[in-house]
Symmetry: C2
Subunit: 158 residues, 2 copies
């Protein structure tokens, strides 16, 4: 198992700089366009409901680990390191499918959200729990009514 | 109408640097966290179907114009300028609702996708028309079967 994991962990992605515009947009080579910080944007979506859970980033290692282990990994920009989703909270995301967009700089990650079903560290299913309302030219936020599925103070021992 | 538009165009957003962590995550002040390039990531979703259409970026001007005009604007990183979605193709996105995520560095933009219903410049409804498949440790792309709703060569006069 250790050998198998190590082999699968070393997934090599095609460098988009070696591909034509047409090959990037219409071809069958996976050539994620990592930015200057080595990251691609990933939108996590609950496969069963189609609900958008969160937006995060992956570096090549996180993407490779996600594909090889079937559990979603990200790169935490705030902590500056690899982050297995749910490693603290238990809200692990099981990979269902990854899709790439036309220019391959963004990923759609279809997942099964395990645990209590809360992708957000605030305890809610989704991070998008507030909507913008415009009143007299001023933009304010209002709740969408998204309930908390866990108490973050308990889960993160704060 | 001109005066109204000008007044609404000047929406001022709260600087997240002036807010506490709690106010950013749980408060009712809209304080989009623009990055070093002055951009936030925006995920456009078809309001009627919940389908993810595309991922793009907005600067303060694009966000302000989107809220004030009700038509979605982005900032094109490749062209380095403001971009009203659909200005060439006719595939205008009518704004239904904007949601922000917990740390306010990403937006979910619910839209009515007008025109032929194709958000992607390749003529497809969504930019996410290919999925990653892992075969013998190699990642390749396969079509999700997303049909083209227009011919990009005709629409963009190429």
């Amino acid at each position: 198992m250790g050998r198998r994991k190590n082999r699968l962990m070393s997934i090599v992605f095609t460098d988009p700089g070696t591909l034509s515009h047409d090959a990037i947009e219409e071809g069958d080579l996976f050539a994620p366009r990592f930015d200057d910080h080595g990251l691609v944007t990933a939108v996590a979506v609950e496969a069963s409901s189609g609900k958008i859970l969160m937006l995060a980033h992956m570096d090549a290692e996180a993407l490779s680990l996600t594909l090889s282990t079937g559990e979603v990994h990200y790169f935490s920009r705030s902590r500056g390191k690899l982050w297995k989703k749910g490693e603290t909270s238990g809200e692990v995301q099981k990979l269902v499918e990854i899709r790439t967009d036309c220019d391959q700089d963004a990923l759609l990650v279809l997942v099964e959200q395990t645990g209590r079903g809360a992708a957000c560290h605030t305890g809610r299913k989704t991070c998008f729990y507030r909507k913008v309302e415009l009143e007299n030219g001023e933009a304010r936020l209002a709740s969408t009514g998204e309930p908390r599925l866990f108490d973050p103070d308990l889960v993160y021992n704060r």
